[in-house]
Symmetry: C2
Subunit: 410 residues, 2 copies
């Protein structure tokens, strides 16, 4: 008998029919002899509706009250799913975040899980119940309702799987697994049968959107065996584990890309020891996330610093920089919008030093100009013109032979 944590996202529980379908999937597991703990998100668009309600009274709702409001979304799903399972004759109990013992830091809208008091759930499992837990939410030591931010339900599922020492954590979503790249953009994209935590972490951070990085990190830290699979289609998903059981020993296992990138260059800053620190501390204090950073020393006295941000933060970033001009002491700011980031990811790169070179040559061969580069041990990211993003991804997908991966079926 295995203990499995299953997580179903908002689309998977988007309406009554889909909830009944989710109940079927859970029943299959139970009939298979497994113990099941289920984590669910709010139903489809219900979070948007709650946000719209809040916007009706204020443009800037307090984070505490938003958590109070949004946490009702998952509470609705857990009760409806529990009813659907009970209707089918299965002994089921639903639990909110606080009832399930999910203790978070005292920080609203983006809290981290500090502790998971597992006794409540294990007691219910002992009595043979299916346990349904509200994802995305927790409670502080002092009894405040918190939410976990983006990808919060994934994090809940992984945290429960870690705490309960579950045999597996299945993330059911609207895709059938982790693909070599986004199949909506590149039709040759192939589903991977396995991928390592680190690769998934890079892909997640690069915006592949299947799993939230925090959840992957949690899974890596606690060695939780994760699978990503479809809630709609009966099909083997992608296993995420310490070492991917490399089917083809690929050097590059995935391509990630995102548009809406802006490059900012702060030119003519004094080349002193605190320059870099000043600029990024200032941006962070204003909640501006910086992605790639490049420093280019011009001469002994001056330096240019370039960085990329999401274009949504463009105006705000310029304002913050101008406001702090007297401290930062730069001469001028240059910027370029309409950019995109395209990245290759794969653990195999560590032992294959030429991979970055292949990438650059491949892009250059099709006439794509690279504007920024950033690398990690298992990733190379390039910033290019947004209009060339799809061409770049298609080119690299072919170059690294990702379309040749065999799709493994059960």
């Amino acid at each position: 008998m295995a203990l499995v944590v299953q997580k179903f996202g908002g689309t998977s529980v988007g309406n009554i029919e889909r909830i009944k379908n989710v109940a079927n999937r859970i029943i299959n597991m139970v009939e298979n002899g497994d113990q099941v703990v289920v984590v669910v998100s709010a139903m489809g668009k219900s979070t948007d509706e709650l946000v719209a309600l809040a916007k009706g009274v204020t443009e800037k709702p307090s984070k505490r009250e938003m958590d109070m409001l949004l946490s009702t979304g998952e509470q609705v799903t857990i009760s409806i799913l529990a009813m659907a399972l009970q209707e089918r004759g299965y002994d089921t109990v639903s639990l909110t975040g606080w009832q399930a013992g999910i203790i978070t830091e005292a920080c609203h809208s983006n809290a981290r899980i500090l502790n998971f008091e597992k006794e409540k759930i294990t007691n219910y499992l002992t009595t043979g119940k299916i346990v349904i837990v509200a994802g995305f939410q927790g409670v502080t030591e002092s009894g405040e309702i918190t939410t976990l931010g983006r990808g919060g339900s994934d994090t809940t599922a992984v945290a429960l799987a870690a705490g309960l020492k579950a045999d597996r954590c299945d993330i059911f979503t609207d895709v059938t697994g982790v693909f070599t790249t986004d199949p909506r953009v590149v039709k040759e994209a192939r589903k991977l049968s396995s991928i390592s935590y680190d690769e998934m972490l890079e892909l997640a951070n690069l915006g592949a959107g299947v799993l939230h990085p925090r959840a992957v990190e949690f899974a890596k830290n606690y060695q939780v065996k994760l699978t990503v699979r479809s809630s709609m289609v009966e099909e083997e998903g992608t296993m995420i584990e310490e070492e991917a059981s490399v089917e083809e020993n690929l050097v590059v296992r995935g391509l990630a890309f995102e548009s809406n990138v802006t490059k900012i260059s702060v030119c003519g800053m004094p080349n002193n020891i605190s320059g870099l620190s000043n600029i990024f501390t200032t941006l962070a204090a204003n909640n501006i996330n910086v992605d790639i950073i490049i420093q280019n020393v011009i001469d002994s006295e001056n330096t240019n610093i370039s960085f990329s941000i999401n274009s949504e933060k463009f105006t705000e970033t310029l304002e913050v920089l101008e406001e702090n001009r007297s401290v930062l002491l730069f001469e001028e700011i240059q910027h370029e919008t309409g950019l995109a980031k395209v990245s290759i990811v794969g653990s195999g790169m560590i032992s294959n030093p030429g991979v970055a070179g292949i990438m650059f040559k491949s892009l250059s061969d099709v006439g794509i100009l690279i504007k920024m580069v950033s690398t990690s041990e298992i990733k190379v990211s390039t910033v290019i013109d947004q209009n060339e993003m799809v061409k770049a991804v298609e080119t690299l997908h072919k170059e690294f032979k990702l379309e040749e991966i065999k799709v493994l079926q059960r």
Copy 2:
């Protein structure tokens, strides 16, 4: 500085505009120098929507999961109202039932409040915050979410007022106060400026619908000064207190009425000591609420028992009686549907023995046949034909000069 508990029902918080209006009412109190604890219900039709969602998966949802589901309704309202007050610059905090320390018995869908741990609220009041509490809900000692059943938000408000020793508990609703009878039916109906707990209790039990009897009982037990008033109109409401400060020293202070009454007669039962007990224990075990009961001994061996029920329970009642025929040993069952109950209520009756007689004569003078009668110290109820209900109420309203009550204004 007074401490006031204010309760706003579902209609009063039915949409964003109304919630902003409620925020205004609260701000008026705060600007007046008072401390305010607010209790709110779910927004307008939201409870109906949640019930419909549940019906999508099962016809018989478990009570526990219904409590889990329905309790989200008030949680939405408290957060939105808190945001509306914060938007206006007022320091406000919202609390669910469990956060507010409302401890109930371990019984779903209709739990009674056992205890109110007031420290959380008093701590917030001390820091100058407006406290918004979700009505209708509580938590058991073991951390299960419960709801309080019909009129639950009224009960929450009164329980908080009692526990906090509030100076007053204002129940804001969609009527401007307690009327001599339903003004939608009798246009001469007048608003009472005050009424005693006992009178209100009789009116509430008789279906006047303004306040739930459990809330009135709670208020009586803890001597909470209650007012019922409109959330829409700035107008003095009705004060409910130990002794109504009788403006006109009325004998009869109110008329209550309800249609949809069925009279059942169980005829030819053996006249033994357990007969009455058997029949009503059986009905209660099947969740059938009996209202008026009349026993009529025919001879030393046989007795007829008549009682009234809500017509909705008619078929079920007949079934239960037939199923138990071998125990109850009756000869036959007679019934009459399409009846109504009309009642007069007033503390003054205790010292005015002729009141019932006046009522009967008044009805008889307009040709209305009385089919059942029941009395308490401050109430006389009659069961009549449903078609004559409005005529009866109008006649009695005039007979007891209720239209002559002066409407007191501030």
